[in-house]
């Protein structure tokens, strides 16, 4: 990331990054939303270079162009160049530069202020973080897993349902786990992606210290964003634990017959979250869970797995929502695509996707026609009544 300024000129602006792997559709969320070349990966990289070279000055629009990138990694999948895997690092590097220079859009600044002051980007009280938990056991040394709920799971009304369902399913399966409650703090994934490296380091060090003090050996996350940062960034800053996304653990529980879903007749499609799929190649487990439920018919959207279209919530946009405002906003496009498959349920495995799509379903007037549910909710509904 540090060397992005010396590498960024390598983008040829060939545009492969805009597409799915079969070129059937545009798959870069901000380019799809705004359509100016400037909002594509190439546009962003060329503009950043121009800014670094002094050919253009900073402007709020330049900042927004940089921050509308959801870091979904579609460009990384499609770019034909040898540097493909570095592209998101370059974006993050440029954001980090802007943060250091104090030149960021107001919505980004508010995001950082909220995390700094409240431990979450939603600017809600730390003392309310576990208000959803309602008797959920606190983590204690000896518990097998720490359930890391994350900011959305703790505060967002829809994502709270997701967290509650997961707790119920884990309890029904006899999983040994606990939560941190009000002691939990932002995981830092979005803070990292948005380029606030000082705040990120502080968050990680605090969390790592907490995990160490409690003797945490295994963490299971509700959110793919938290999973990603704990798996790929925490170890370099002293983290020493195993980390799983809940779909991995849940799939394992089903395979071991510790969770036995009963019949739940439904046609379902599934949204691959970027931080689970493209970032960490977890494509099969969520699908295996859905297919394990008798009566569930899984119908794929045309763009799936590494070609999945991002919900538009990545890089803090589930709060900042820089891609909102029109029928070409990514979440609205994606719920239309889900609805076109003829399903009644759009299954997700990420609280960001859940909240983005829940809003989009309302805007698209699909209420009552397409339900957005987390996989944990679908599994919970499939459990025999006494097990729920």
């Amino acid at each position: 990331m540090e060397k992005y300024a010396e590498q960024i000129h390598r983008c040829f602006r060939c545009g492969w990054c805009k597409f799915t792997s079969d070129y059937s559709d545009l798959n870069c969320p901000p380019y799809r939303r705004f359509r100016f070349e400037t909002y594509s990966t190439a546009g962003r990289l060329w503009l950043v270079r121009a800014w670094l070279n002094g050919e253009i000055g900073w402007s709020e629009r330049l900042g927004e162009i940089l921050y509308t990138c959801t870091a979904c990694r579609n460009c990384v999948e499609q770019c034909p160049m040898g540097f493909a895997s570095d592209i998101v690092d370059w974006i993050v590097g440029a954001r980090s530069d802007m943060v250091e220079k104090g030149r960021i859009p107001p919505r980004v600044a508010r995001f950082f202020e909220a995390v700094y002051g409240y431990g979450n980007p939603l600017k809600l009280l730390r003392s309310d973080r576990a208000a959803w938990a309602d008797g959920t056991k606190m983590y204690a040394p000896g518990d097998e897993y720490l359930l890391y709920v994350g900011c959305l799971g703790s505060y967002d009304e829809n994502a709270q349902k997701m967290a509650k369902s997961l707790v119920d399913v884990f309890n029904a399966a006899g999983v040994s786990f606990g939560i941190l409650g009000n002691d939990e703090e932002c995981c830092g994934n979005e803070v990292y992606m948005l380029g606030e490296m000082g705040l990120f380091q502080t968050l990680v060090e605090k969390n790592n210290q907490k995990f160490k003090e409690l003797g945490v050996k295994k963490i299971v996350t509700v959110c793919p964003h938290g999973y990603n940062v704990m798996k790929n960034r925490y170890p370099a800053l002293g983290g020493s634990f195993e980390v799983y996304h809940y779909t991995q653990l849940l799939n394992d529980l089903i395979k071991k017959n510790k969770v036995k879903p009963s019949r739940n007749k439904a046609k379902v499609t599934y949204q691959d979250p970027c931080f689970l799929g493209r970032y960490n190649k977890i494509y099969d487990e969520p699908r295996q869970i859905l297919r394990s439920i008798p009566g569930v018919e899984l119908v794929e959207m045309e763009k799936n797995r590494a070609d999945a279209f991002c919900c538009g919530g990545g890089s803090g946009n589930f709060v900042m929502d820089l891609l909102a405002g029109g029928e070409e906003s990514p979440a609205r496009i994606r719920v239309r695509e889900a609805y076109e498959t003829g399903v009644s349920i759009l299954a997700v495995a990420c609280p960001s996707c859940l909240t983005m799509f829940t809003d989009a379903v309302k805007t698209e007037d699909l209420d009552g026609k397409l339900a957005v549910k987390d996989i944990s909710q679908i599994v919970k509904e499939s459990l025999p009544a006494k097990k729920r």
Binding site: E6, H9, R10, C11, F12, R13, C14, G15, W16, K18, F19, D22, Y23, S24, D25, F34, R35, F36, E37, T38, G43, W46, L47, A50, E55, I56, G57, S59, R61, L62, I65, P80, M81, G82, F83, G326
Partner: protein
């Protein structure tokens, strides 16, 4: 200028007009080596009627207009040399109609080759169009307007030869149909049996109007594909080899390439020969016909077929080819440009030698390649040079190499494909004066205010 902006907003909506520094910066340049020049506005219309209103506004205010597809010609053809309005066509992205029986498709002006290819694969798997090797974001219309070429060019000619109808917004604002669609609901012919007016727009680089719809011929999509690579170390034999292969009428496409790196490729000339067929028997028959045609070169040890490992074949068969774009990063620098002389086959040896000479002389990484056009009537040769965008001195050497390549090409009898501004001027200096006068008359008639992509094909 505020009035122009406000009117553009009224036409397409404020989300699709920009006069911000960011869009002016990006749309001022392409990935090649031409100097940038900023537009005053970038606008993205959705309909033909919106394009018409933009053109009328431009006439009223004498504002230059530059239509733009993906801007991947690399030769600066969409750089707004005199400012004005860049019309980014990519929101006009509807595939309007496929006539399966007559094998044509009507697309709007911003449909990309990638989307069209995927659409046909899904909905009409027995039909295909000629896909260029440029990235899939390149637009069908943009590619045709520069007389592009692709995987079916060896069989059917330049992509402009595959056009079967146009809808054009003229520089004075009229919406005009060209070809059979001007008298019939069918878009099967761009002219015959009537006067072929498509030539007023094809090859003019957007200086005579904006193509808002285009009908393009489709061709049978065969079930099987294969590729063989024939290698010779004698460039002087290449024209004869091509002649013998094309005589068989057995192949789909043929590309010829040479490059000094990696070392295993140096001093050899590679002919990628593509085959298609509906059965293995058909494919094998085609291969055998070509093998027989080349037997004499194998016997004389002047050439032979390269053993391609099966895992390498998909890379060769890809269309478009990602590896073409990856050439831009050979110098870890995000740049390449090529001069593309169209030449008779007999000139290939001297051009291949010249490419090597230029690479050595200017110390630049070069690739010389060519695609056979319509059974060998001619070929598109490419002097391609890659450069590091962060190294201005290397970029200058590439510019000089390209300039010398263009001069050499014209001297030898080539015509330059998608010419840069200076290559256009070089050709105009050599062009028959009556031809120049005719071009001038046509341009003045169609574009009396000189608003369309000014600077290009400008006769002084």
């Amino acid at each position: 200028m505020g009035e122009v902006y406000e009117t553009l907003v009224q036409i397409v909506g404020k989300n699709y007009v920009s006069n911000h520094q960011e869009e002016r910066y990006f749309y001022a340049r392409d990935p090649g080596l031409m100097a940038p020049h900023e537009p005053d506005y970038v606008v993205m219309p959705k309909t033909t009627e919106e394009v018409q209103k933009i053109i009328r506004l431009a006439n009223d205010t004498k504002t230059p207009v530059v239509p733009k597809g993906a801007g991947l010609a690399l030769t600066g053809l969409v750089i707004p040399l005199k400012g004005g309005i860049v019309v980014d066509m990519k929101r006009m992205d509807r595939i309007v109609e496929v006539n399966e029986g007559a094998r044509y498709v009507i697309v709007e002006g911003g449909v990309t080759h990638g989307v069209l290819k995927a659409y046909l694969q899904k909905h009409y798997p027995h039909l295909r169009h000629s896909v260029p090797e440029s990235p899939p974001i390149s637009t069908v219309v943009g590619n045709v307007v520069i007389h592009g070429q692709g995987r079916l060019t060896q069989q059917y000619g330049f992509h402009s030869d595959m056009v079967s109808g146009l809808e054009v917004v003229l520089p004075t604002g009229e919406i005009c149909k060209i070809g059979s669609c001007s008298v019939s609901p069918y878009w099967f012919s761009k002219g015959p049996p009537m006067p072929d007016l498509s030539g007023l727009f094809l090859g003019w680089l957007g200086t005579t109007g904006i193509i808002t719809k285009m009908s393009l011929k489709l061709y049978p999509q065969k079930k099987l594909k294969d590729v063989e690579v024939f290698v010779t170390d004698r460039e002087d034999l290449v024209p004869d080899i091509v002649f013998k292969i094309t005589h068989t009428e057995m192949i789909e496409d043929m590309g010829i390439w040479s490059q000094p790196r990696p070392r295993m490729f140096a001093d050899n000339y590679h002919l990628n020969i593509f085959f298609t067929g509906d059965t293995e028997e058909e494919l094998e028959f085609r291969r055998k016909m070509v093998w027989h045609a080349l037997q004499e070169y194998i016997d004389s040890k002047d050439g032979g077929f390269m053993q391609l490992p099966p895992e390498m074949k998909p890379t060769f068969l890809d269309n478009p080819q990602k590896s073409m774009s990856a050439f831009a990063d050979l110098r870890k620098g995000g740049g390449f440009e090529y001069s593309g002389p169209i030449i008779p086959m007999e000139l290939y040896p001297s051009f291949a030698r010249k490419a090597q000479e230029l690479g050595n002389k200017y110390r630049v990484v070069q690739n010389a390649s060519g695609r056979v056009i319509q059974q060998g009537h001619c070929m598109m040769f490419s002097f391609a040079f890659t450069f590091n965008r962060a190294n201005s001195e290397e970029m200058e050497r590439c510019r000089k190499a390209l300039h010398e390549a263009a001069e050499f090409g014209l001297e030898k009898g080539a015509v330059l494909w998608k010419p840069t501004l200076y290559e256009q001027k070089m050709m105009l200096r050599r062009m028959d004066q009556n031809t120049i006068n005719l071009m001038k008359k046509i341009k003045q008639l169609l574009d009396p205010n000189g608003i369309m992509n000014p600077g290009n094909w400008e006769v002084e």
